[in-house]
């Protein structure tokens, strides 16, 4: 079976006037469906750039990128948007919720861009909010939530389109250790249920929650190791 994600000599070089900066080079690796991968590295190593390219938010300047076995380097902006919309879920360090919208509206946003009718949007979004244990906050404006709650809303939003893969960029970076633990626990549980998860972090305890750690240093893969992941118990718990 084809890997969910596969790259061949992926490179990203930023050119600014005469100076070019190599952010990524010779990235050749793959991620299978159902994996929980942590991409780690010091800041400036290129790990975030890699995640952005894998998440179809940015384009490589060299090499090949295969998503579900198809080379997508030359996809149009709209085709990229469609992949992001239907196959990928994002969880960001800064949550990136729209503060004027309610929890429900935020979670339902990807479905709106997919063109799903309002009734069905609300139904699916409510299920996801229930899953992350925020049913009693459905109609809150997200600006009124705590950091941990915001990240759970973001996870619900990432899940709402039933994506193939979830990219989490430093998802615990803006959270205290307790809330961070809850978020990590969620991600582990999602992985248990078969979701493919890619997490970018510079914190080793976060990386240890995964099943495979890819070390990036100076834009190259330094080490790619399987680990036996350390269980993090989601203290507030997923609704089963």
């Amino acid at each position: 079976m084809d890997a969910l994600i596969r790259t061949e000599k992926l490179a990203k070089i930023y050119t600014n006037e005469d100076i070019s900066t190599v952010a990524l080079e010779h990235i050749t690796f793959s991620i299978q469906e159902g994996e929980f991968v942590a991409i780690v590295g010091p800041s400036g190593s290129g790990k975030s750039t890699l995640m952005q390219i894998l998440g179809c938010l940015d384009r490589p300047t060299g090499g090949k990128y295969f998503f579900e076995g198809k080379e997508i380097n030359n996809y149009t902006d709209d085709e990229f948007a469609q992949i992001r919309n239907e196959k990928i879920g994002f969880v960001f360090q800064a949550f990136n919720l729209l503060p004027r919208l309610t929890v429900l509206e935020n979670v339902a946003l990807p479905l709106m861009y997919k063109g799903v009718a309002p009734k069905e949007r609300i139904k699916t979004a409510k299920e996801m909010i229930d899953l992350v244990g925020l049913s009693d906050r459905t109609d809150y404006q997200t600006s009124r939530l705590s950091g941990g709650q915001k990240q759970r809303v973001a996870i619900a939003r990432a899940l709402v389109n039933n994506p193939k893969i979830i990219f989490a960029d430093e998802p615990t970076g803006n959270l205290d250790s307790k809330s961070g633990g809850v978020v990590l626990g969620f991600l582990q549980e999602l992985n248990d249920r078969g979701h493919t998860i890619v997490i970018v972090t510079h914190e080793s305890y976060v990386a240890e929650a995964s099943g495979r750690i890819v070390h990036i240093i100076d834009g190259k893969i330094d080490k790619d190791e399987k680990v036996i992941h350390r269980r993090v118990v989601a203290q507030e718990g997923f609704r089963k």
Binding site: L57, D78, A81, Q82, N96, L109, Y113, N161
Partner: protein, 413 residues
Amino acid sequence: MRFQDSLITAKKGISVHKNRSALTVLGIVIGIASIMTIMSMGQSAEGLVMGEIQRFGPSNIFLLPGRQPSGPTDAAGTLLNDSLKQKDFEDLQKKSNVPGAKNIIPYVFGYVTTSYDSEIYDAMVMGSTELIEKNFDLSVSRGVFFEMRDVEEKEKVAVIGDKVREDLFGNIDPIGEKIQMKNQKFRVIGVLEPEGQGSFIDFNKAVIAPYTTVQESVLGIRYFNRIVVEAESIEKVPEVIRDVKSLIRSNHNIDDPEKDDFFIQTQEGIVDQVKTITGILTVLLSSVAAISLVVGGVGIMNIMLVSVTERTREIGLRKALGATNGDILAQFLYEALLLTGLGGIIGVILGTILTFALSYAARTFAGLDFPFIFSVRGLMLGIGVSVSIGIVFGIFPAKKASKKSPIESLHYE
């Protein structure tokens, strides 16, 4: 993305900054309200003037001395021209010369101070024949109108307008009394019915007398200010015009029509002229209002650009969640369109209220018979223009928003 969702998203975008949105559309509101008012008032004024013109009847042909005025400064030349003489009038009356003519009515007029006892009134003195009564559809409330015999015998008799009566006589019955004009005494034989204002000629302020008397004793002239030729029917108007022209040319020894010292106006011609004038005025005033619309449009564009920059992160996030460039374009374009559309609707309402108030004021304070007209043309133009402004000034910011790279936008501080 569904169209309704784009609209709802745009609506939410605007309602975040209510005050800012309101101030932004003010320019559009003022512009549309002005255009709406100008067009409605223009139509009302045109209607008012048309009503007056139509009073002459479509079969009336006006023969005027001088040249067709080419502009407002030219008009004086017509008034002072003396080319229409008694012989022209008499020849026009001969059936063989102008077979299609029913009536020939000559006019002379001028402003003269009239007095009775110690009371003074500056009246417009009109000299004509007894046919003026029918020609202008006049009627007397007291006394009688003068007759053909009075014209022939140069009788010093006068029919006065109601305002003249009021100012000179007050409560005294004027019939039989003598008023003085240019040291000549005229016997008042009739008083006109009071009539509404707004006419070219305000008969309330007029003194009407036989033209023979007015020419000789009051104005001291031997020509006519105009001669009205009434055709037997509308169909005969072109034929009558041709006959009148050739008669006057031969009377004045003119071979070349370019050198005519007279000209002819028909109701149709005057209607066209008035329409041209009101049309030009409306366009002119509307262009001034259009400037406000352009300024308003630039304001919209400015605020949309600010909004796009402010919401860079939001744009990045929406794109990350699957919004296409088109979705983002639509969101911001609809915001601009909603703003200008809203401005257009408020402008139309405001313009209508303003028009109503102005026409009410014209009726109440100026005594004009000024109708309130809701200009459908103004409505269509207002809505059309405001939507176009939304598109023209909204497309650039919206394009800018849609082209933003998702990753750079997400990291925008």
